[in-house]
Amino acid sequence: MSKQQVVVRFCGDSGDGMQLTGTLFSSLNAILGHEISTLPDFPAEIRAPQGTLGGVSGFQVELGNQVYTPGDKADVIVAMNAAALKVCTLGGHFNHPQAHFDDEFALYHRHAIVIVDTDSLTDKDLEKAQYHTDNPFTELGIPESVQIVPVALTTLTKESLAESGMDNKSILKSRNMFAFGLICWLFDEPMEKAIHLLEDKFRKKPALIAPNTKVMVDGYNYGQNLAISVNQIHLDGHPNEEHGSYTSIAGNKATAWGLIAAAEKAGKRLFLGSYPITPATDIMHELAARKDMNVMVVQAEDEIAGVCTAIGASFAGDLACTSTSGPGLSLKSEAIGLAVMAELPLVVIDVQRGGPSTGLPTKTEQTDLLQALYGRNGECPAVVIAASSSANCFDYAFEACRLAMENMTPVILLTDTYLANGTALWRIPKLAELPAIHPQSVPESLKGQYNPALRDAQGVRYWAFPGMEGFQHRNIGLERDAERGTISTNPENHEQMILARKHKIEQVANRIPELRVQGNTASNTLLVGWGSTEGHLHAAANELDCALAQFNYIMPLPKNTREILSRYQRIVVCELNTGQFATYLRAQFPDITFEQYNETQGQPFAVERIVNHVKH
């Protein structure tokens, strides 16, 4: 059987190593030249009891050609236990006692292949996963069109490692490698590349290389036994990508590396002040490990100190950043206002998660948009941009740094759980290919006459910092005199300064690319999205044969936005919130009609649901 795209979902207990298996399989396919898009789906609990529904951890990946999303529903499921089988079959309805397989809610479609560990379907396993009968397949109402592949994963793994001298517990931990090998057989993938990946993965624990490799190869060979009943799947064609070096990269890592690249490009030292928060913490982890690149990371005492240490570093002349998620952005609001008022470059990365309050810390949502735009006291404009794929988190992190340092302003970069934890194919750029960055450094000619209110013709003030002789000044969060830069409470001056700060953000529109329409530009219908939904909306626009405008620049909007929007009769703004971008667009373009399509379930869009909505 050959296919253009295939969606595979690995599903098991939190301790079954599903994230590792999924990551290895995705990397292997990326190495083989396939496009990938991944969706790790962690359980919300810290560590639910083993074998229970609350402890199911999933990892979904779509591979092949023209891959825009991790896929709505899986073609292949690997279910490591009874709970995983139930969660995959019932989707979000797994807690309903009467629920059956349903095309809408199941995580796989009705012609999928479902590989199940039959050793993990004992009475005890079924009880833990809240089954009421001893036949899980009948109880779940799995249609006959689904191809169930029963494999005694546990027994086979034990046999594989019987002579390894390993203890039982360690042997059981290797079950995922047997499943990995089996999936490699299913996709007819070369074992030598997979072995190489394993060697790399366990580089620091060499004792684990041999047993894991053996289990994986045994899993692969076991696949031959299935050949009578299961057809292998071959991925067709070659990805339509630019020539170059490629790797697979997760969004948070791409974000961190974008900051590193920007610092080097601008000739600045990178400083990150941050406080741990899901799902943003990996950015801090990545940067803390990059002391070789002269990156300075302060793990602050709280979110406020995270942004304030960064503001201090910016005042002192560094490229300063802070990384957080929604609750942290709330805490940082006042300090971001300080950076707006003091007109200092600052990059604020908000990896959005389900809110409000603590909300759904491990799930994805686009609900911080209005907070990013307006969530500060006073008239407090800042640049707001959003990444739209795990790989382009790199480009927009770089862009955030460029815009901050060239325009002396905070820039809020919005990503989200889906982008942050997902991986995608990334073409590795050379530093020389990246756009130049020209920080707004004060010219030497202003020595002795400098004050913090002086602006260039575009309205951007100059950056002078401690250590520079003849540029001493007092920066403030109080209103400053437009001429002298000192404290001022003059009414006309305050208004003048509010307009100057507003104008400074508006003129950024001259320094960003214009909006580009994708898909069938001649259609009457335009889908509109922003940030991480690009893949899903692109796929939906293809199916609907309509146009798509995906926004990466939100404040300010690209200059041609009105012109593009006014070309279409029907505009549907699709967001993972209740209509924040639509609200913003209506305020900018009150004469244009915007329809909305919204989901707030903590999950990425399903292409099918968008298509159905827009069709009807």
């Binding site: 990397s27 990326a30 030249g33 990508e241 020539h243 170059g244 070096s245 490629y246 790797t247 590396w257 590193i260 690249a261 080097e264 400083f271 002040g273 002391k291 070789d292 690149m293 002269n294 300075m296 302060v298 602050a300 005492e301 709280d302 406020i304 100190a305 304030c308 240490t309 960064a310 503001i311 201090g312 570093a313 005042f315 002192a316 002349g317 560094d318 300063a320 006042e334 300090a335 206002g337 300080l338 003091a342 590795i428 750029p429 050379k430 530093l431 401690p466 250590g467 002789e469 003849g470 540029f471 001493q472 000044h473 007092r474 920066n475 403030i476 969060g477 109080l478 000192t486 404290i487």
Partner: protein, 347 residues
């Protein structure tokens, strides 16, 4: 350098008679004595009367937001340890809204010089009680008297494992300058509690020691290596006594010629004695006493001067040293070298 070289062109807007005027002048004098040129100094503040200080100094300055001066200063100093960084703060800015940053800059031992102006009141917001107002203190926000227990700043500093603590008084210029210079010389978070009078909302809060007639009896200026002697006639000394039942040590007043009179050792790592010294006379600030005048001169004097000054590695040094160590042992210096370390393939 001259003190005038550290003066900005701004008109000083503290209330006439405010203690902050004196600290401002002392700062300019201390900076001149230290001799670091103005462009290599950054003065960071939060919000409050004291936080206006950067405007009056011809250095780099940043008047930030309420309570966050410590965090901003930490960012400045850590990213640029070559700069001399001062933080100006008050009892509200430092101990209430900015309390978390205050204890953490001390815990990390960031090499900052912190002036904590303590007037036991919120002045800029026009007269509310502060974390150092004595219990029972009547203010606009406590018309029936506060019911809160106050902080003793020294105790908080030592509790956060502080390496430097000095206390000074607005009306004692020489001690103030001396403490500020010592704060600069100390590597690490140097906290100087500046007792200042708020002439409008809390006039006379430090009168017990500020009053020239009584000061010699009610305060002692501690100097490292010198005997702890005080009194109008220099006839009193301080000694330690340990209660034989409870083993609790306490400071006692003895005649100046008593062999038990202590010699001040600010460099002692063990903070036990520093704490006892710093707490002397502080009980009178814990609660409003009905009849203050009844107190006799036999009570313990308030300690001024440098009480604690011990060595420990500073955060900014450690962070920068670690970066240098990693860089020395790594060949990866550029973005292109970094990406070369990735598992990758050609298309």
């Amino acid at each position: 350098m001259e003190a005038s070289e550290y003066k900005s062109d701004q008109y000083v807007r503290f209330c006439p008679g405010c203690g902050d005027h004196a600290i401002c002048m002392a700062l300019q004098k201390a900076m001149a004595q230290i001799g670091i040129p103005p462009h290599q100094i950054a003065v960071i503040s939060g919000i409050g009367c004291s936080s206006r200080m950067p405007h009056y100094l011809n250095t780099y300055g940043f008047n930030t937001i309420h309570g966050r001066g410590g965090a901003v200063a930490t960012g400045v100093k850590t990213s640029h340890p070559e700069l001399t960084v001062w933080q100006m703060s008050g009892d509200g800015d430092c101990l209430a809204i900015g309390g978390n940053h205050f204890i953490h800059e001390i815990r990390r031992n960031v090499n900052l010089n912190v002036c904590m102006f303590n007037n036991r009141i919120y002045g800029l917001t026009k007269g509310q009680y502060s974390p150092t107002s004595p219990k029972g203190f009547v203010s606009k926000s406590s018309p029936f008297g506060t019911v809160e227990r106050p902080f003793i700043p020294a105790e908080l500093v030592l509790g956060a494992r502080g390496t430097f603590f000095a206390r000074t008084l607005d009306v004692d210029m020489p001690t103030t300058v001396e403490c500020l210079v010592a704060a600069h010389q100390h590597k690490g978070a140097s906290i100087v509690e500046c007792l200042v009078n708020c002439v409008i909302f809390n006039n006379g809060t430090h009168a017990w020691i500020a009053d020239r007639e009584q000061r010699a009896e009610h305060a002692i200026i501690l100097k490292h290596g010198e005997k702890m002697i005080f009194g109008t006639n220099k006839d009193k000394g301080l000694a330690v006594e340990i209660d034989p039942q409870t083993f609790v040590p306490k400071i006692i007043v003895v005649p100046a010629d008593d062999p038990r009179v202590l010699t001040h050792d600010a460099h002692q790592q063990d903070p036990t004695l520093h704490r006892l010294l710093a707490l002397m006379g502080q009980d009178r600030y814990l609660e409003v006493k009905a009849n203050d005048e009844g107190t006799t001169g036999e009570c313990l004097p308030v300690a001024l001067g440098v009480i604690r000054d011990v060595e420990a590695e500073t955060y900014d040094e450690a962070v920068n040293r670690q970066i240098q160590e990693v860089r020395a042992s790594s060949k990866t210096r550029t973005f292109d070298q970094l990406t070369a370390t990735l598992e990758q393939w050609q298309m």
